[in-house]
C-alpha cells in the first residue's frame, strides 16, 4: 500500500448510489418494529395462558395409565467418508513442515493409516531403532469469530493466549499427568482469517516406563509447528474438520471449541 488505507478506501466508494428516501424508510421500519414488538408481547401473554391450560390438562390426566414407551433405538451416525484422495506422487506439505523437527531428534515420521481426511492428517513417529514413539495428529478448523481457548482445569474459563508472528494466537496444552497418555498439544488460530490448527503429539500407550511413553515431539516443537504459517497454508483452503465428515477427525486431548451455528 503506497498511500494510506483511508485514501485507498475513498476510491473504493466511488459510484456510491443516492440515499433517496432512506431516512423516511428508517422511520417507517422503526414504526414496524414497534408494532411487531407489541404483537410479540400480546402473543407471549397468550402463550402463558395456553401453557397454564395445558398444565391443567396434564394434571387432570396424570391418573390415566400411560402408554408404554417404545424401545428407542440409538442411532449412531456412521462417519461419512472423508478421505481426500491425493496422488501418491504429490508431496505432503503438512509432512514437509513436520519432518525437520522429527529429523532433529533422529527419528522418523510417516503417514499412519487412515492417514488423512477432510481437514486432518495423522502420522506415526519411530525412533532410530524403529521403536514406536507415538503419533502426531493435526486438524484444521474455521473459527471466524473470537475463540475462547479452553483451560484444562477450568472448563468454563478462557485461557490467556500467547502471540506468534503474523497474528497467530495460541495456547499450549501439554499434559504428562497420565504416564499412559502423555500429550503435547497446541491450538493456534490465525486471526486474519480464523483458520485454527490443533496439533497434538502423543506418546505410545502401554509403555513399560514413563520415559518410553513420551511423545516423539516436545511441547516446544509442537508449539513451533502449530504456529508456523506454512502449516496453515499446507491444508487446502476448503478443508476443515467440521460438518458431515467431522466424525473422522482426530480426538484431541483438548478439543477445539467450535461455534454451535
Amino acid at each position: 500500500m503506497t498511500m494510506p488505507l483511508t485514501r485507498l478506501l475513498e476510491h473504493v466508494l466511488a459510484g456510491e448510489p443516492d440515499l433517496g428516501d432512506e431516512i423516511d424508510a428508517v422511520f417507517r421500519d422503526a414504526d414496524r418494529i414497534r408494532r411487531r414488538r407489541t404483537r410479540v408481547l400480546i402473543a407471549a401473554g397468550a402463550g402463558v395462558v395456553a401453557t397454564l391450560a395445558v398444565t391443567g390438562l396434564v394434571l387432570t390426566t396424570t391418573l390415566l395409565p400411560s402408554r408404554p414407551a417404545g424401545d428407542q433405538v440409538a442411532r449412531q451416525a456412521a462417519p461419512a467418508g472423508s478421505a481426500v484422495p491425493v496422488p501418491s506422487n504429490v508431496a505432503d506439505p503438512v509432512l514437509a513442515v513436520l519432518a525437520p523437527a522429527v529429523d532433529d531428534r533422529k527419528m522418523h515420521i510417516y503417514p499412519r493409516p487412515p492417514e488423512r481426511g477432510n481437514g486432518w492428517r495423522q502420522y506415526s513417529v519411530t525412533d532410530s531403532a524403529g521403536r514406536a514413539r507415538g503419533t502426531v495428529e493435526i486438524a484444521v478448523y474455521d473459527v471466524a469469530g473470537d475463540m475462547c481457548f479452553p483451560v484444562l482445569a477450568h472448563p468454563n474459563k478462557c485461557a490467556r493466549t500467547e502471540w506468534a508472528p503474523a497474528g497467530v494466537e495460541y495456547v499450549r496444552y501439554d499434559d504428562e499427568h497420565d504416564p499412559d497418555w502423555q500429550v503435547n498439544q497446541t491450538i493456534a488460530r490465525r486471526i486474519t482469517d480464523g483458520r485454527t490448527l490443533a496439533v497434538m503429539a502423543t506418546g505410545e500407550r502401554g509403555a513399560d516406563k514413563p520415559a518410553a511413553g513420551e511423545p516423539g515431539l516436545t511441547g516446544a516443537q509442537i508449539e513451533k509447528i502449530a504456529t508456523d504459517q506454512r502449516l496453515f497454508d499446507a491444508f487446502d483452503p476448503a478443508e476443515r474438520c467440521s460438518g458431515p465428515s467431522s466424525g473422522a477427525c482426530p480426538a484431541f486431548r483438548m478439543p477445539v471449541p467450535l461455534p454451535s451455528s
Binding site: L5, P17, V26, A30, G167
Partner: protein, 158 residues
C-alpha cells in the same frame, strides 16, 4: 440523544451516509449495505424511543457490524457495483477483494479504525474486544491486507 423524533431524525440524517459506506466496505454490495444500514438505524430509532440506548454511535456501529458478520457467515463475497455506476477502477476491486479475504472481525476492526477513525476503546466497545485484541487485529489485518494487495498487483502486472 433524546428519544424525541426531531433529535432522532437529525441523528439518522447525519450518520446514515457514513454508516452505509462502512457497511459497503464490510459487505461489498451497495444494495446489501443499504438494507443492513436501514435495518440497523430502524432498531436504533425504535430502541432510542423507549430509552434503551446509552450511546447511539456505539450501538449503531455494533449492531451494523454484527449484522454484517451474520450476513457474511458463509464467507461468500461478490463485489457488486452500484447500478448505473461508471467503470470501477481495478485497484478498488483488488482492495475490496483483499478486504473480504480477511475474517469478518478483522475486517470490522480495520473499517472502524482506518475508515471510521474510532479510537481503540470505542472499537473494543462496539466489537466486545479488549484494547489489546483490537491492536492485534489491526496490526495483523494491515499486514495481511498489504500482502494480499502485493500478491494481487503482482498477478495483475505479471
Amino acid at each position: 440523544m433524546s428519544g424525541d423524533d426531531d433529535g432522532l431524525r437529525e441523528f439518522v440524517t447525519s450518520r446514515l451516509p457514513h454508516l452505509r459506506r462502512s457497511a459497503f466496505l464490510m459487505c461489498g454490495d451497495w444494495t446489501t449495505a443499504t438494507e443492513l444500514t436501514r435495518a440497523t438505524m430502524a432498531r436504533v430509532v425504535a430502541d432510542s424511543r423507549r430509552g434503551a440506548v446509552a450511546d447511539p454511535d456505539v450501538y449503531a456501529y455494533a449492531e451494523l457490524m454484527e449484522a454484517c458478520r451474520r450476513r457474511n457467515r458463509r464467507r461468500e463475497h461478490v463485489f457488486v457495483a452500484a447500478a448505473g455506476a461508471e467503470g470501477v477502477a481495478a485497484e478498488s476491486i483488488l482492495l475490496l477483494d483483499a478486504l473480504h479475504k480477511l475474517a469478518p472481525r478483522c475486517r470490522a476492526v480495520l473499517v472502524l479504525r482506518q475508515w471510521d477513525g474510532f479510537e481503540p476503546d470505542a472499537v473494543g466497545a462496539m466489537l466486545d474486544l479488549d484494547d489489546e485484541r483490537v491492536a492485534a487485529y489491526e496490526r495483523a489485518g494491515l499486514a495481511a491486507l498489504q500482502k494480499l494487495l502485493t500478491e494481487s498487483e503482482a498477478a495483475l502486472t505479471g
